[in-house]
Every structure is written in structure tokens, then in C-alpha cells.
């Protein structure tokens, strides 16, 4: 009887110690073993090219970006592009513009490396962008008709210059489909930081932002290549070799 009591008490004690140790292990944060600088991904947006083809020249946008990878966690980015519009409204009013645009921002990778799992280059990102463009636009063939007193007057506004600034909230994924080749998509919510005052001759389209609605949503689909530092490439090779030796 005494023995049974002894064994059961020691078993309970062991279980308590083990569970407390296990809890301590759980609380430990995952270790980020990624190098400080993981290279630069240079990528082009395919969705904007496809959108330009489908719009038959009404609106067009071409953009590319360079994104640095620090500790596979913080990814500052520069996006540059060229966009324009050649629109004719149902009332035959013409709108024309084209200009370069730029965005700067940062993405945060939300994927945390799991212990004992294979290191991955895939990214699940959320981020912010600040976009800006300075452009000129023309609005032509506006006809004012006086229905009661009679008479018409054609009006055109040419070379109106403006600067627009906006911010974007970005979320998306990026997957390494081949070695150093990345594909991914992002969903963007765009908001203008300054809206046009009533009575202003506001542009119909803003390069890099899209149609001038105050708020826009956009999906981008990127294909890119990661350029790494030679030291990082060597490190990656050696880690693979040690992996194969241990196996």
C-alpha cells in the first residue's frame, strides 16, 4: 500500500514538473534565424498591364518596384510607375493625362518561423504606402447650352497642373515559386489625403491612384526576382550542405 502511494505521488510530481517545463517552452518566442539582409526583390505588376490591355487605352498603368528584405520581417519598398488616361465621357467630354508616379512604404511579414520547420521565403504581408504624383491634364469639348435663352459655348481646360498625395493600406502574399523567383498578389485600399474643393476643375484620373473617387481599391499581381548578396548566397549553400550531411 505504501509502495503504491509512493509511486503514484512520484508520478504526479513528475507530471507537474513536466507540464511546468512544457509551459515554459511554449512561452519562449520563436527564434528568427534569418540573416539581417535577405536581398532585394525587383518585381513588376502584371495586373496593371492586364488592366491596361482590357481598358482599350482608356486608362493605362505600368509599374515596378524594389523591395528590400530585413530579417525576413521588415520589407521597405519603393514603387515607381507611369500611368495615364484618354477618356471620352457619354457627353463627349474628353479627359487626357499621363505622368509618372511613385510610392514609398514598408511591409511587415506576419509569417513566424515555426520551430523545427524548414525555413521559408514565403511572405504574408501587411503594409502601408505613401503615394505621390505631379501631373498635367486637359479637359476638352465641354459644351454649355442655354435651353431657354438660346446659345452654346464650347469650353476647354488645358494644361491644368496638380499634385496629389495618397496613402494605401496593403495586404497580400508572396511565394517563392522557383529559386529566387517570387509571385504574389496584394489588395490595396487607397485614400486621397487631400480632396478637391467644390468648384475646382478636378481630374477624372490620378496616375498611380486611379479614378478620382476619394477612395479606391486595387488588386496587384507581381512577378519578381530576388537579388541576394554573395555572402548570403554562400551561407544558403552551406546551410543546405549541412542539412544534407545531417540527413
Amino acid at each position: 500500500m505504501q509502495r503504491i502511494l509512493k509511486y503514484t505521488s512520484s508520478l504526479i510530481l513528475c507530471m507537474l514538473v513536466y507540464s511546468s517545463l512544457a509551459q515554459k517552452e511554449k512561452k519562449l518566442p520563436p527564434v528568427n534565424t534569418a540573416p539581417f539582409f535577405n536581398g532585394v526583390i525587383v518585381q513588376a505588376d502584371v495586373a496593371s498591364i492586364a488592366g491596361s490591355i482590357f481598358s482599350n487605352g482608356t486608362t493605362y498603368s505600368y509599374e515596378a518596384s524594389a523591395q528590400a528584405d530585413f530579417k525576413h520581417k521588415l520589407l521597405p519598398v519603393i514603387e515607381l510607375g507611369y500611368a495615364g488616361a484618354n477618356k471620352l465621357s457619354t457627353e463627349n467630354i474628353g479627359f487626357k493625362t499621363n505622368a509618372p508616379f511613385g510610392r514609398i512604404g514598408i511591409d511587415l511579414n506576419l509569417l513566424t518561423p515555426k520551430k523545427d520547420a524548414r525555413p521559408t521565403s514565403n511572405l504574408f504581408i501587411v503594409g502601408l504606402r505613401l503615394g505621390m504624383t505631379n501631373f498635367k491634364y486637359n479637359i476638352s469639348n465641354i459644351i454649355i447650352t442655354d435651353d431657354y435663352w438660346g446659345g452654346t459655348q464650347p469650353i476647354s481646360y488645358n494644361n491644368i497642373s496638380t499634385t496629389k498625395v495618397w496613402y494605401e493600406i496593403v495586404a497580400g502574399v508572396k511565394v517563392e515559386v522557383l529559386k529566387n523567383v517570387f509571385m504574389g498578389w496584394t489588395v490595396r485600399s487607397k485614400s486621397l489625403l487631400s480632396n478637391d474643393a467644390a468648384g475646382n476643375i478636378s481630374p477624372w484620373f490620378i496616375p498611380g491612384f486611379g479614378t478620382n473617387n476619394g477612395n479606391n481599391y486595387e488588386i496587384s499581381y507581381t512577378i519578381g526576382y530576388r537579388f541576394q548578396l554573395p555572402a548570403n548566397v554562400k551561407q544558403a549553400h552551406s546551410s543546405k550542405k549541412t542539412d544534407s550531411v545531417t540527413k
Partner: protein, 183 residues
């Protein structure tokens, strides 16, 4: 599996439909000058003047165009108000390309001055000339441009009308009351 495809198809259709751009102009493009008709009466017991909205039995309003060759006014083809009954406010368009607009207003009504004093007006005509500035107001690519006006002066004859007062100089697509007509 089939249900999933149907749901995906409906989702895509809704997504495309939600992305369709609405190119219809939904802004009011009509710019009218607003008038209100009022009567000022004196109350003996309270010793105060009171202003009340006056309903006219019937009114006819026509635009008058100045012929620069003859120097005479001619009627614009279309009549703005044709013997319209029981009216206390009216709205007229100003000239978009000339800085003065003239209207002929014909009144048919009774005005009660006091218990024993009622004035009858039968086809009493007044001419009202408004001098104004015309300003282009760009709305959007869908709506284009409208002409809004800034009233400078209003001149009136005094067959029916006692006086007028400009209360709002801006004439735009809000179509508010701009001028008070007093009888």
C-alpha cells in the same frame, strides 16, 4: 463541388458588377433664380409690421430679349409660367451668355390691405431686369460644366410690385430664394 462552382460564379459576377463605373450625371444641372412674393402689413393693435408670404391668384412670366438692331424688347418663344394659379414663389433662368436678363411678369390677384380695403389687380404687368455675372462651374466629367451667376443689381417697374430686396446674390443649382418681391 457543383455548389462551390455556382457560388464562385455568383461571387465573380457580383465582383464584376460592383466594379462597373457609373457614368450617369446625378447632379442637378438646372440653375434658376428664385423669387418669393411677400406682403407687409401694419397691425394697429400691436403697432408692428408683419411680413407674410403672399399667394398670387395667377401669374404669367415671359423672358424679354433686347434686339440690338431695333433697341426694342421681344418675347422669348417659350413662356416660363403660363397663367399659373396660386403661386407665392417662382424660379426663372438667367441668360448664360449675356449679363442682363429681363422678364415680364403679369399679375392677376387681389390684395387685402385691411378689412375694408381690398385691391384688385387684373393683368397688371411689371418688368424686372437682373444684371448679373456669369461664371463657369465645372461639375465633373460626367456632368460637364454649368453657368452659375452672381447678381449685381435688380431693376423693377412698380405697377404691382412695391419693392424688391436681393437676399442671396449667388444663383446656382441649389435653386434657393434670391430676391424677395414685396407688395
Amino acid at each position: 463541388m457543383k455548389n462551390r462552382r455556382i457560388i464562385l460564379y455568383i461571387f465573380c459576377t457580383l465582383l464584376i458588377a460592383s466594379c462597373a463605373v457609373d457614368e450617369q450625371c446625378r447632379t442637378n444641372r438646372t440653375v434658376l433664380l428664385g423669387f418669393g412674393i411677400y406682403h407687409v402689413s401694419y397691425n394697429d393693435s400691436t403697432k408692428l409690421f408683419t411680413t407674410t408670404s403672399e399667394s398670387i391668384d395667377s401669374i404669367t412670366i415671359k423672358g424679354l430679349e433686347l434686339d440690338t438692331l431695333t433697341g426694342k424688347y421681344t418675347y422669348v418663344d417659350s413662356i416660363l409660367y403660363n397663367n399659373t394659379k396660386a403661386i407665392s414663389a417662382f424660379y426663372v433662368p438667367l441668360h448664360s451668355f449675356v449679363t442682363s436678363s429681363t422678364f415680364e411678369i403679369t399679375f392677376n390677384t387681389k390684395v387685402i390691405k385691411s378689412k375694408n380695403d381690398t385691391l384688385k389687380f387684373f393683368n397688371t404687368k411689371d418688368t424686372l431686369t437682373v444684371l448679373h455675372e456669369n461664371i463657369n462651374d465645372y461639375l465633373s466629367l460626367e456632368c460637364g460644366c454649368i453657368k452659375v451667376h452672381s447678381i449685381d443689381t435688380a431693376i423693377v417697374t412698380h405697377n404691382f410690385i412695391d419693392s424688391i430686396k436681393i437676399i442671396n446674390h449667388t444663383v446656382n443649382n441649389v435653386n434657393a430664394e434670391n430676391i424677395k418681391i414685396y407688395k
